[in-house]
C-alpha cells in the first residue's frame, strides 16, 4: 500500500503499572464477582422469599410410579418467589382441592365438576380466590338456582403426579362419582404440550415431552462434586448443567421476573415469539412436532368426550389462554405467521366433532388492557387477578344460553370492566 503521509507520533503519557497489580487486580475482580453473586442471591431471597412447608408430604413428588397426583387428606403451604401470598393447599380424602369433602348431591342442586390442570386447581393462588371457588355463588345468583362446583383438577406433571388430561381419562369413574350434571373441562396450551397417548410412549419426542428431572438428580446425588463435574465435561453436558444450576438460583428467577414484568406488551410479545419452540402453538402453520402433539391431545380429548357421552353427562370445554396469548389478543395485532386464536379454534372444532360443547372466552380478552399483568410473569400461571378474569368470563359464557340449565334468569351484567374482581 502506498503511503504518502509522514507524520510524527504524539507524545502520550502512559500510566505506569506496578508488579503487584498482576496479583491485586485479578484478586479484586474475583472478590467482586464473589461479593456480587452472594449479595445478589441474598438480596433476591430477602426481597422475593419462597417458602415450602410440607410440600413433599402433600404433592406426590417422590412417587416412583408418577401415577398419584397428591396425597389424600393432606395440607401444605407454599409461597413462590413471584407471589406475596403464602398459599395453603388442602386436599380432601379424595385428593382434591375442592374446599371440602364431596357429599351426596342435595335434591334440586345443579353440580358442575371441574376437570383440568394446574390453572383449574388454582396453583399459587389461595383457594377462595380461584375461579373454582368463586363460581358457585355467582352462578347461583345469575341462574336463580342452587349451583355447586366440585373441583377435581390435578396439579400437573411437574409436581410429580400424572399428566392431568390422562389422569382424568384414566380415573373418569371418580369424575362420575361426583354425580356431575355438567363436566366443565378447562384446557390450556400446556395440556396440549403434555398430551401423551400410548403411541407417544414410543415416539421419538418422548424424552423431550416427558421431562423427568428425578432420574438426573437421583443419579447425580450418588456422585461426588468432582465426579459430577468430570462426568458432565466428558459427556459434553457441562454447559447445560451450569445453566440448570444458574436457573435454580433465586437471582436468576428474580432477574427474569423483573425483566419480563418490566416489558411493555409489545416488547413482551416480540421477545416471547423469538423463542420458536415455545411460540410454536401460536403459529398459523406450526411445525410437524406440534401437529403430532395436537393429534395426541385430540386422542385424549376424544376419549374424555366419549366417556362423558357414554355416561350421559353434558361436557363443556373451555380454552384458557396462556400469558403471551392473552397479551396478543388484548393488543389486537400480531406479526404475520401467528394467530393466537388458531389453537382454540382447532380444539373447539375437535370438541364439537366428538359431541361435546365448547364455550369461547378468548374474544373476551380483547377488552382487558394488559391481561399479561394478571399472570405470574415467569411461572406463567394466572395470579389472583387472572383467576378473577377467568371467573368473570366463565360466568358470562356459561349463562348466555350455551348450557340451557345455566341460562341467566336476567341478562348477565358481567362486565368487561377492567379491574373488577
Amino acid at each position: 500500500m502506498a503511503q504518502t503521509d509522514r507524520t510524527e507520533p504524539r507524545v502520550v503519557k502512559e500510566t505506569k503499572s506496578r508488579r503487584r497489580d498482576w496479583v491485586l487486580l485479578p484478586a479484586v475482580s474475583i472478590l467482586t464477582i464473589c461479593l456480587l453473586a452472594i449479595s445478589a442471591e441474598l438480596l433476591s431471597r430477602w426481597l422475593y422469599p419462597s417458602t415450602q412447608i410440607g410440600i413433599q408430604d402433600c404433592f406426590a413428588m417422590n412417587d416412583p410410579t408418577g401415577d398419584v397426583a397428591v396425597k389424600p387428606n393432606s395440607v401444605c403451604w407454599e409461597q413462590i418467589p413471584e407471589s406475596t401470598l403464602k398459599v395453603e393447599y388442602r386436599f380432601n380424602r379424595r385428593g382434591h382441592r375442592a374446599g371440602g369433602e364431596l357429599s351426596p348431591k342435595p335434591p334440586g342442586t345443579y353440580r358442575i365438576v371441574l376437570i383440568g390442570s394446574s390453572v383449574t386447581q388454582g396453583l399459587s393462588v389461595p383457594r377462595e380466590k380461584t375461579f373454582a371457588a368463586l363460581l358457585p355463588e355467582e352462578l347461583s345468583i345469575e341462574t336463580g338456582r342452587k349451583i355447586e362446583v366440585y373441583n377435581e383438577a390435578t396439579g400437573g406433571k411437574f409436581r410429580g403426579g400424572p399428566f392431568p388430561t390422562q389422569n382424568s381419562a384414566q380415573h373418569f369413574d371418580e369424575v362420575l362419582a361426583a354425580q356431575p350434571d355438567l363436566i366443565l373441562w378447562v384446557i390450556t396450551p400446556t395440556d396440549v404440550t403434555n398430551a401423551q397417548s400410548n403411541e407417544n410412549v414410543d415416539s421419538p419426542y418422548r424424552d423431550a415431552l416427558q421431562e423427568d428431572p428425578r432420574s438426573e438428580t437421583s443419579s447425580a446425588k450418588s456422585r461426588s462434586f468432582w465426579g459430577n463435574l468430570t462426568a458432565s465435561i466428558a459427556k459434553g453436558t457441562f454447559g447445560e448443567r451450569l445453566k440448570s444450576r444458574w436457573e435454580e438460583t433465586r437471582t436468576s428467577i428474580v432477574l427474569k421476573h423483573i425483566l419480563i414484568a418490566s416489558e411493555s406488551q409489545d416488547e413482551y410479545i416480540k421477545s416471547y415469539l423469538r423463542n420458536e419452540d415455545d411460540a410454536n402453538f401460536l403459529k398459523t402453520k406450526p411445525d410437524a412436532k406440534w401437529q403430532i402433539q395436537l393429534q395426541y391431545f385430540d386422542d385424549e380429548l376424544a376419549e374424555i368426550t366419549k366417556l362423558a357421552r357414554n355416561a350421559g353427562v353434558n361436557l363443556v370445554a373451555v380454552f384458557v389462554p396462556n400469558r403471551p396469548q392473552a397479551a396478543m389478543i388484548s393488543k389486537g395485532d400480531w406479526p404475520a405467521g401467528y394467530d393466537p386464536f388458531r389453537l382454540e379454534h382447532e380444539i373447539r372444532d375437535s370438541v364439537v366433532d366428538h359431541g361435546g360443547h365448547f364455550i369461547d372466552i378468548l374474544p373476551d380478552f380483547r377488552g382487558i388492557p394488559s391481561p399479561e399483568r394478571d399472570y405470574f410473569p415467569l411461572d406463567g400461571h394466572p395470579n389472583t387477578g387472572g383467576q378473577a378474569i377467568i371467573f368473570r368470563f366463565l360466568v358470562k359464557e356459561l349463562t348466555n344460553g350455551t348450557v340451557p340449565e345455566l341460562k341467566a334468569s336476567t341478562p348477565p351484567e358481567i362486565a368487561m370492566q377492567p379491574g373488577k374482581k
Binding site: A2, R10, T15, S29, K243, S262, S271, P369
Partner: protein, 481 residues
Amino acid sequence: MDSASLQFVLFGLIAAALSNLSASRVWRSNVLLLATLTFVAMLARSALALIPLAAFLLFGYGAIALRQRGWSRGTAWSIPVVIFAYVWLKKYSFLPDQFLLHFPYFTLGLSYIFFRVLHLLIEAGENAGPEEQRHIGFVPYLLYTMNFTTLISGPIQRYDEFRRDQFAVLPLPLGRATIGLQLERLIRGFFKVNVLAMLLHMMQENGLEQLTQPVPVELKMLAAIQMTVAYPLFLYANFSGYIDIVIALARLMRIQLPENFDRPFSASSFLDFWNRWHITLSKWLKTYVYNPLLMVLMRRISSPSMEPFLGVICFFVTFFLIGVWHGRTSEYIVFGILQGGGVAINKIWQLSLARILGRKAYKDLAKNAIYIAFGRGMTFSWFAFTMFWFWANWKQIGTIFSAIAVAPWFVVWLVMWFGATAVLATWELLRTELLKIRTAEGSALTSRYALVVYATTMAMIALVVTVVLNQPAPGIVYKAF
C-alpha cells in the same frame, strides 16, 4: 452483526490484536482496511447494494483530488453536488418518489461518510494551507471515510487527527495500563448499550403504553413523566455506550478518536448542552456552518449593536441543521426548529440578562449554584420534550399529546423541571464529594482498583442479561441516521 453486540466487540478486539502484531504503519493500515472491508461485507446484502455508496465515495475522491490540484474554483459545484447526492441517497421525504433509486442499497454510516467527505472537500479548497492541500491517496481516503470503528455512528474525526495516529512512523503507545483502561471502557460501553439502554427503553415503552390505557389522569401523568424522562437517558446510554466501545477499540488499534460526550446532563444551559452532546457533530457544524455564516453576515451587516443578534441567527441556523440532519421526515424539521429555537432563545436570554443586569452582575448570577441547578433542570426538561419529534411519528405525537389535556401536560413539564433540578443537583453534589476521597495517586473512585470493581460488576451484569437471560437490547439509534 449489530454495531454494539458481543460479536462486534470480539470482531474489533481481533482486528486490534492483529493490528498490534507489527508497529509498521503499512501493516496497521492493511489490517484496518481488511477489517473495514470485512465489516462492510458482513453488513451489506449484496455487492449491488454497495454500488451507490461506492459511486458517492468515488465522486467525493475525484472532487477532492481535483481541488487539491488547484482546481478549486472549477470544482466549487462539487460541494452542492455532494450535499445533493447525500440527500438523494438518503431518500429525504420531500424528494419525489419517482426520482429515487428503487432497489435496496447500503446507506449505513452514509451520514458520517458525508461529513468526512465534505470536510475533506472544504479543506482541500483554495484557502487551505499546505497541510490540507497535501495529496490524499485513495487508500488513506478509504481508511478515513470508511474506518469500521467510526463508520456506523461516528464520532466525526478530522482527517488531520486520523492521519496523525494512523500513519505515524511511531504509533501511539499502548501499554498495559492503557489496555486496561480501554477494556474497562469497552465493558462500560457494552453495559450502557446492552443493559442500561435496554432497561430505559423498557421504561419508555411502558410509559407510552400506560399513557394510552384507560387509566386515571394522575396515572397518565406519571406515565407521561416516565416516558419523557426515560427517552433522553436511553438515548444517552445507547449512543454514548456505542461511542465508548468504538473509542476503546480504536485506541487499541492506536487511533485516538475524539470524545463525543462530556456529561451532557450536567450542562447548565441549552447552549452548554450542545457543547457536551454529540460534540463532534456540533463542532463540525460550528466550523463549517456557524463560523462562515457569521462571517458573511458580519460583512454584510456592519452595525455593532446588531452583532450579538447575528450570532443568534447563526446559532438558530446551525442547530436547525443539526436537527434536520437526524432524519428524512417532517418530524425532524420540527425537531430542528426546537433545537435551533432552544439555543437561539438561550442566547437571547443571556444577552438580555447581561444587558439588564450588567455584565458583572450577570456573570455572578451565572455562577450562582441555584441558578445553575435550575438551568440544568430546564435544559434537561426542554431536551426531553423536543425528543418527541425525534423518536415518534406524527401519529404517535398526536396520541401522546391528546392522551391528557394541556393543563396536566403543563404540570408534567413543571414536575420534570423541578424534579430534574433536584435530582441533577444532588447528583452533582454527590459526585463532587465522592471525588474528594483521595489517595496518593488521585481520586480513590477513579483508581485502577475501583475501575476493576466497576468493570467486573458491569461485565457480570451484562453477561447475565445478554448471554444468560438472552435479553437483546435495542439497536444503536444513531445507526439509522
